[in-house]
């Protein structure tokens, strides 16, 4: 149990270090802002109780907000994916989905399943995040473009990171 806690704490720190030190400084034309810190929410175990999931989601977002200086923006979006996660997990059809033990990672699931899972979570998160940032639908399509491009980038980084972890 404590071993698992340490693992999650380390994951958390590593993800935030990556996010804050590197990815936050990458601004490709203002349209691509990858946010891989949400991988922390994705990697939480299947058996996690709902309240803990929501609170962890909220706190993760709040931490990100503290770094980005946008109080409430990331916490809203991250909380939203924490809320969606159980529904997404129970709805992605796969021959392995009957088994709901351990972590939803690439090592325990097949690649197709994980890509689907990643895309759903990432798009949901980025959708909320970027529209909250714009806080209007007046520039709907330019915001939408940012959502799509950033989602592709984030998903790419998340999936790559999984191969990296497996190899180790």
């Amino acid at each position: 149990m404590s071993k698992q806690l340490t693992r999650y704490a380390v994951t958390f720190i590593v993800l935030f270090a990556l996010q804050v030190l590197i990815l936050n400084n990458i601004r490709l034309g203002g349209y691509i802002n990858p946010y891989i810190y949400i991988l922390f929410i994705m990697l939480l175990p299947f058996e996690i109780p709902g309240w803990l999931l929501l609170i962890l989601g909220f706190l993760t977002g709040l931490t990100m907000d503290a770094f980005a200086g946008t109080l409430g923006m990331h916490s809203s979006a991250t909380l939203f994916i924490a809320f969606l996660r159980p529904y997404i997990l129970s709805n992605i059809s796969t021959h392995e989905s009957a088994e709901k033990k351990g972590n939803p990672t690439l090592s325990t699931k097949d690649v197709g399943w994980f890509i689907k899972y990643t895309l759903l979570i990432v798009i949901a998160h980025h959708f909320i995040l970027f529209y909250l940032e714009a806080f209007s639908f007046t520039h709907f399509f330019s915001t939408f473009l940012r959502v799509i491009l950033s989602s592709i980038m984030t998903a790419f980084f998340i999936i790559i990171s999984q191969f990296f972890v497996i190899r180790n």
């Binding site: 709902g50 309240w51 929501l54 909220f58 946008t70 409430g72 923006m73 916490s75 809203s76 809320f83």
Partner: protein
Amino acid sequence: MNSLLRFLEKYYFIILFLLLEGFSVWLLADHNFYQKASFGNLTRGATSIIDYQLSSIDKYLHLKQTNIELMVENVSIRNEIAKLKNKLDVNKSSCNDSIGGVKFTYSTARVVNNSINKQNNYLTLNVGSNEGIKREMGVISKDGIVGIVASVSNNFSTVISLLNTSLKVSAKHRRSGSFGSLYWDGINYREMILSEIPQHVNLAQGDTIVTSGYSSIFPPDIPLGTIEEFALKDGSFYVVKVKLLSDFKRIDNVYVIKSHQAAERNLIENQKQNE
């Protein structure tokens, strides 16, 4: 209580989510300048409709108070105008007015009784000698002459209405300046007769009739009405039918005119007659 607990147990996930999300949005709206402004606009848009309705109800309830305030303001403005007009007159004639004051001052009054359907109509006002009202003061409304004060008690005064066949006031055709006397023929409460306009005056339908200022009761150039039709009578004078601006049926707030020079003027005019 039990069912409430069961409800909470069943939906705690959603409730907790909504609580935290609400808190997040509050943080967002409260700590980020841009979102704060946008959120403010959004809520203002929704509440301004309700606010508008509420304020219109509120306005309606305070109409009476507003009316009184407007009346008071009107009086002060009219007094100001009278003062300025007097100054202008003094400047024009470039001589010093020995009185130096204003010729006319106004005070407000309300009509408490009124009639239009008799041959000799009278009005009653809610002001009397306590308010400084005296006989033979002029009474006007915003649309022209109402009448002349006939008798005064402590708190009320009766006014000979313009719609009284025994009252004649001096009026003039504004464009040409020729004057005649205006009286009511007792037929239509919206129409009066202007007589004694000489034949050579070029009248037209719609021309404005104003007070002449030849009497000391009313200031000059108060619009009274417009020419409806005119005809020659006995060869040399026009009889003009004047459509009144004021609707005596709906007269409510009026102004009583105090003429400061009336006494002096009457004195000198009477002297002349007695000689």
